[in-house]
Symmetry: C2
């Protein structure tokens, strides 16, 4: 069964909302409440969760911790993911200091920059290198499969090639460049400009 | 007619691809070629563009520059948008040095941080302030309507409140916190973690 990517993305939002409820020691949430908190309608939520079997209890709602654990399992978040960061400019630094990743089990283990000066002052738990062969070894040794590309767009394709040849199969690309990659590699684009342009569309209608 | 947000987001991708073709002096693109370059199928592209009237020429394809200009007009990108940046940490600095915004007509005009030390060394064209009243005046004087929130999550709601009271109607929120805002204000979330978690889902299936 092919699960739509939009469903996968919403699962990610459900987890965040459920984690907040869990922190407040709330044990049960109705699909109506879940809908209010996530901003998706209840029918959508039921449909999303139905892909994975019966997750709610009729007349009660959802058990917060159970549902969260189940979704985490579905998304593969019940394990730790080591990540390599390719490019350590301002954005790279911001990503390193961003706590949200770790909360979800993603750890930047390794940072590469062609300029060794950019690699000073990084947290001690991050292996750093400016040598592409050493980068490959580190990726292999740690079994890293996810890479972040945070270089200027003109260097993004060569960054991707280097990562893929080292065994990376999932790429988070922060540049607008569409990458050419083999079918076995999955690329997600983080493009702030799209968010800006979507905003502009709505603001220019008023 | 309500245009789906997914369509608006794809328009943003079409522009980027068309800009690349324009740079290479390519005048006409078939919907098949456009499909290859964007990664969306031709039926989807035709459907998206059909929302805005007849944009292609049967048997020829699309005129690159005309289509690009038309989409820019639709998205409200044929004008300049001034933007205020709320929070100047690593992420704020990365956003200031990110060229993609300016290419699309978005200019960070003003930067606020509660800590004045963070405001040194910013480009001269950016007005800076650590004073919330002054921030309001600057937003008013420049007619700024878009704000970026790049503070820690726990400060995001108060940042939003301050921006909205100053007249901001579009917010790009880089924190995972779901903001409570009036119906007249539109919020877009940039959440890297969702991209990571979507990647994890696909990687854990292999």
């Amino acid at each position: 069964m092919k699960i739509p990517e939009a469903t996968i993305r919403r699962l990610s939002t459900y987890i965040r909302v459920l984690a907040t409820l869990e922190k407040k020691s709330i044990e049960v949430v109705s699909s109506g409440e879940l809908s209010n908190l996530c901003g998706f309608n209840s029918a959508q939520i039921r449909k999303d969760l139905a892909y994975f079997g019966e997750m709610g209890v009729r007349g009660v709602g959802y058990y917060v911790s159970d549902l969260k654990r189940e979704i985490e399992h579905i998304l593969g978040l019940d394990r730790k993911w080591n990540v390599v960061l390719f490019g350590v400019g301002n954005l790279g630094h911001a990503l390193i200091s961003y706590n949200g990743f770790r909360r979800s089990g993603f750890y930047i283990r390794t940072a590469y920059d062609i300029d060794p000066n950019k690699l000073s002052n990084l947290p001690a738990e991050i292996d750093t290198t400016s040598d592409s062969n050493e980068l490959k070894e580190i990726i292999n040794d740690h079994g890293i499969r996810i890479g972040i590309i945070a270089v200027p767009p003109e260097s993004a394709q060569s960054a991707a090639n280097m990562l893929i040849s080292a065994g990376i199969t999932g790429i988070l690309n922060f540049t607008p460049l569409r990458l050419k990659v083999p079918d076995t590699v999955r690329v997600k684009y983080v493009d702030f400009t799209i968010e800006f342009e979507t905003l502009a569309f709505y603001l220019s209608k008023n």
